[in-house]
Symmetry: C2
Subunit: 358 residues, 2 copies
DNA sequence: GCACTCTCTTGAAACCTTTCATCCAAAACT
DNA sequence: AGTTTTGGATGAAAGGTTTCAAGAGAGTGC
């Protein structure tokens, strides 16, 4: 991004605006329909208990007055919210929007709505959103956290806001988590590269505070150990974020190395990095996979459509989101809910970027 | 999407959960700190008017009780919300997440938070979110609407919720809008293809209820007329949505045509369609651009990294979002706000998918 | 006709905060 | 010393909804 926005000069046209309105509440509706406050409330919340005739009168009054229920007041009195929130790491990463889709599916099935928030890998933003959501008394929070040990995160459930951690297996007794085994994923990727005969392999990822980055690297190391190779064969290229732009930067660094010291393969902590790396390397004249084999992670939709279709580690994205939402719903409705740690298994999808054309 | 989720069997581990908590309000804080309700409220909202000593006492009490302000009650009494919402067409389209990034930037600068909602091109979902947000009394709504003539949308501002329409130039006196000239964009795309000598051109897009789809097609037709060609040279392939999967479907249909009737170029209503089309055509053996030139729309980040780098019509995405948010903020704070219609100009970015290798 | 159900409707209390006019004590004047 | 000013703290009222115990009518059975 950020290539964007060459500050184009827009055309503007102006208009005067309409005067400020004033809202009608249940009281006004009750008066207009000639019934009591309680009846209006019943129409809103338990329509079956009010007679068809009165209900019709009340509904007509609502329509003609343009009544809009004040959710703050409702929630204050009733104590419950009909909203879930999902705090994502990065809305620009299709992996998370796919997870979000799963969340929405499950929420919709339960009659709830979902608000999406994005921390953009910034701890302060994440903290600000968590505070806000807690103050809003949302029914629950789904989050892919930046810092899984944040005290804010741990305190939330004890104060009454259920939390489910998504895409991170967190061994904390205070909430559920749903994850994919990232260590195994890293192992799958590297084993595949080792089988293809690669010896010097780069690991592209960062910052090293993000759990996914760490686990995938650990898996990579484990694969090396299992194969009896020294883990120094894994050359780490640390990036500042998990974005296409950072991937390009890593490609620049990689391509700059002399051919005899350059790794013959790269395993990237996610597909955005891999796509950036791929693009940069190709444009600098490296052939993929001949000069450099590349493995990504997440198997986002664009991985298959890349310049060289990308080998990647697939995760069940929507299922992840759906499961997380279901756990959250269970936690907030089922009195003897037990916290769970659900772990899915990733799967390697081999494409041209490692295997070449067959 | 939806290729996802082969219903992997996860492992689950269970744990007993902690007992239910109970919240502390201002009253409890006041008691604990030995001050009055009003003082606690002052610490929260106007810390400068309370003496450092009492403030410290109150803050200590808050911390030890784990006080969390009840935003519903605050909002009910104070009447104002600190939240904006952006209702997107499709969170899976990087174009919209880039717009969202611009919105967040502007909101953050003004000390507000943004909730993202996604209608997924479903009119009912859009309606449900609009109702919800209105009931929440959010400070304002940014929306890329499915149906720009929705009565719900038009009524919103008259009831007190400011609305700014994003990526659609809407000539309605009730709200601001920020858009990019889609007709011009379509024209740019087709003129480019005409210059390259193409005669039979496909237009891939749909459903035809979406404004962007219509405008870009109209621009395409206009370019043909300007060049003195019949608009029947534009062969319409209507899709059910603006997604990669639908693009693949269109590719299937296109590649199935006999070579002498098949268009030599395709203009897609967005990049997701174009990427799907590209991928499918290539895998069916068509060469791009020799057998089929392709032009996309939006110039998302993945367009450049595609199998064949995609020619596309670029829009100032973040700027679009930022401008929209600024208009919304002006509307809700400036008493003599005037509604505006801001129109940016798109730009054609030529890449290999039309021009071939030079 | 009387007692009793049953179906709807009612109105006051409660939810938690913010606001604002008032009050207090100490400091600053005359 | 007496009066005004000032910096802080106070507490009752208000905001729009839901809840719930209680009431009102109409219908039923004897």
């Amino acid at each position: 991004m950020s290539v964007d926005d060459a500050e184009a000069l827009p055309e503007r046209t102006r208009r005067r605006r309409a005067p400020k309105p004033h809202a009608a509440g249940v009281k006004a509706v009750a008066a207009a329909a000639g019934v009591s406050l309680g009846t209006v409330s019943n129409v809103l919340n338990r329509p079956e208990v009010v007679s068809p005739l009165t209900r019709a009168k009340v509904e007509a009054a609502m329509a003609s007055l343009g009544f809009v229920r004040n959710e703050s007041a409702r929630q204050l009195r009733a104590g419950s919210s009909r909203i879930l929130a999902y705090v994502m790491l990065d809305a620009g990463n299709p992996f998370f929007t796919d997870v979000a889709k799963g969340v929405e599916e499950a929420a919709q099935a339960a009659g709830l709505s979902v608000f999406l928030c994005t921390s953009s890998e910034d701890a302060d933003r994440e903290a600000a959103y968590l505070d806000l959501l807690e103050q809003q008394r949302v029914q629950g929070i789904l989050i892919t956290p930046i810092d899984q040990n944040s005290s804010r995160l741990r305190k939330l459930p004890s104060r009454g806001t259920p939390v489910v951690v998504v895409d991170r297996a967190l061994d904390d007794a205070s909430h559920c988590s749903v994850a994919v085994n990232d260590v195994l994923g890293g192992e799958l990727a590297i084993s595949h590269l080792l089988e293809l005969g690669h010896e010097r392999i780069a690991y592209v990822g960062g910052p090293n505070t993000i759990g996914q980055v760490i686990d995938r690297r650990d898996g990579a190391r484990r694969a090396l150990r299992t194969a009896g190779k020294p883990t120094t064969n894994l050359i780490e290229l640390t990036t500042g974020a998990l974005t296409v732009a950072e991937g390009r930067g890593a490609g620049q660094r990689l391509a700059g190395l002399p051919a005899d010291r350059r790794p013959t393969a790269a395993f990237c902590a996610n597909d955005l990095l891999a796509l950036g790396l791929l693009q940069q390397c190709v444009s600098l004249g490296l052939r993929v996979p001949e000069d450099l084999a590349i493995v990504g992670y997440d198997d986002i939709e664009f991985a298959e459509a890349a310049a060289v279709p990308l080998t990647s580690v697939r995760q069940p994205r929507q299922l992840l989101g759906r499961t997380a939402a279901e756990l959250l719903l269970d936690e907030s409705s089922n009195p003897d809910h037990e916290h769970q740690r659900v772990t899915f298994t990733p799967e390697l999808v081999v494409r041209t970027s490692t295997r070449g054309t067959l």
